[in-house]
Amino acid sequence: MKHTISILVENKFGVLARISGLFSARGFNISSLAVGETEDPTVSRMTIVVEGDDKTLEQIKKQSNKLIDVIKVIDYKEGDFIDRELILVKVSISPKTKKEVMEAIEAVGAKIESTSDKSLCVEATGDRAKIKTLLELLRPFGILEVVRTGRIAMDTTGKGLKADGKPEVNE
């Protein structure tokens, strides 16, 4: 099963290596990883999508928590968060397929960022389903290049976390 976890870490050099090293040393497979500063510039947030059963997930959380630079680890429950990914796709076109490709792009609400005679560069942001649909629609035309940011996620229940690891609202 895929899990989305969010890790608040000290914004220091070497932290990413510690986290990724921990994952690889224990054989946990990262399927997506996105890192960036939070509202507090001394804190970064990593959103990591991992695959594994409950036991693996439990170990991932505990082992991550053990790292000195880790402030907090949160494991998002299905339905309690929104997630987004930015993707850039270069798709090949011909005078014959151009119109069809453009329609597909429009259908999923993606944007054309640049065009040439032979290809279109498309930008899309969205959740897993949207990105997947876009790729499926474009694949038959010939995808030349794909670049994705990795997923980021945010709690929507009001129980989310601030950069200091404290809950949004004190209950």
Binding site: V9, G14, A17, L22, E58, L67, G165
Partner: protein
Amino acid sequence: MKMTGAQILIECLKKEKVEVLFGYPGGQVLPIFDKLYDAPIKFILVRHEQAAAHAADGYARATGKTGVCIATSGPGATNLVTGIATAYMDSIPMVAITGQVKSFLIGNDAFQEADITGITRPITKHNYLVEDIKDLARIMKEAFHIASTGRPGPVLVDIPSDIQMQEAEFEYPEKVSIRGYNPTYAGHPGQIKRAAKAISDSKKPILYVGGGAIISDASKEVTDLAINNEIPVTMTLLGLGAFPITHELSLGMLGMHGTAYANHAIMDSDLIVAVGARFDDRVTGKLDAFAPHAKVIHIDIDPASVSKNVDVDIPIVGDAKTILRELNKHVKKPDTQEWVKTIAEWKKKYPLKYKEDDALRPQYILEQIFEATNGNAIICTEVGQNQMWAAQFYKFTKPRTMLSSGGLGTMGYGFPAAIGAQLGVPAAQVFDIAGDGSIQMNIQELATAVANKLPVKIAILNNCYLGMVRQWQELFYKHRYSYTCLNGTEPDFVKLAEAYGAVGMLITKKEDVRPAIDKALKINNTVIMDFRIEQEENVFPMVPAGEAINKMIGGGLA
């Protein structure tokens, strides 16, 4: 007052009350060594940096204090790696200081540059590269704090040589505050009560005690829990000494080379109370078959160790001593009469044994060392059969007297660890129980021991083989002794001892064992005893890797 980085470092060590520092010099730590020249800290010059780390580790295990070692950059730093990994696997508090090339050269493949923070990331609890002289004092304070609190472990601080020379105001922080690091010490009161009830209700409880109990100085609490409630106790290799093996409730060590009765008791128990032990595969054997009838209570300071290998019914995260004190208040004595009786019968029926004939057998040597030292010695071991015989036949009765590389299984650990232990506890009689293979991994430390007048006694159980590997080859590889025979290539250990200024003895007959030990104990110098033991003696019982722990070879119980 303004001080150089090197001075600041020394001041930090003084503030941390570091008495002894193990290390080796080099270009990138010269500013520090220059200040060490006048510092009120005992410096022990080892002959290989690996030994500096092991000696710091042995010092830490024997005293409970944090061990400190230092090496230069590049090869000096990488030579520490095995010692750091050894300490990491066994949760030993250690601070390792390394020199680094000048800040502006980092990343340029400068002479003697190695990315030691990168290399040691997976084998340290935490590590630092000092980038700004202003951070040095804070980092040192944090390093000692992190190394010695929570689940202890090694912390490495890498200091570029230009930073050792730069100046800054010295101000040692009073307190450490790290957002992400707040170890839990008190156990959850509700869980403690549940655990107490489970113990009170059990019929066949067993205590399974690991190195964590020693680290937390919980020996008294373990003993109270066991004796007041008549609960049998088994210990891991690193747990030995937490409860006296000589007590009737003790089952000695469990696991691959544990006693038949310990393994059988675990498999038959209805409740396991694990204290500072992590259900290592050498202990559990085949996991699916492990202790099928038992509920598990797990007391551990590291939440990640709980339910990692074995599913736990009642987890209690925190310090073993603190938790056991609380637990001991709540437990009502369970009815274990039948259970204790059964176990006493097993103990009588399936004792640890060996052939008692005229041959020179290692088990006999260990029994004699035990008797000659009244069980008061600090026993360090190397790795292999020697280690397992020590665990089986020296009856450990006190904590911090069994120093052995459990988690990593590092040959070459014992002798430098003995040096560290002897420095930490000068009054103690310190032994290194060695194999002829292992002792040659750090034999150069004879110079360190002799130079510092350390009366460490090295007992080489010399079988002319890399014995433990040979044993596996005998049992599982059809006697094909592929590169495990050292016969014909062994040095003359007596001459070797003498060459270093130590004392050497050769013992080939059973009747000479005790007189030799007694004589060695009287010598105020480093002594090597080269015991020529039965060459193909094996360690039994033995659970083949991957088998259930009651499926022992040579254990008496099938």
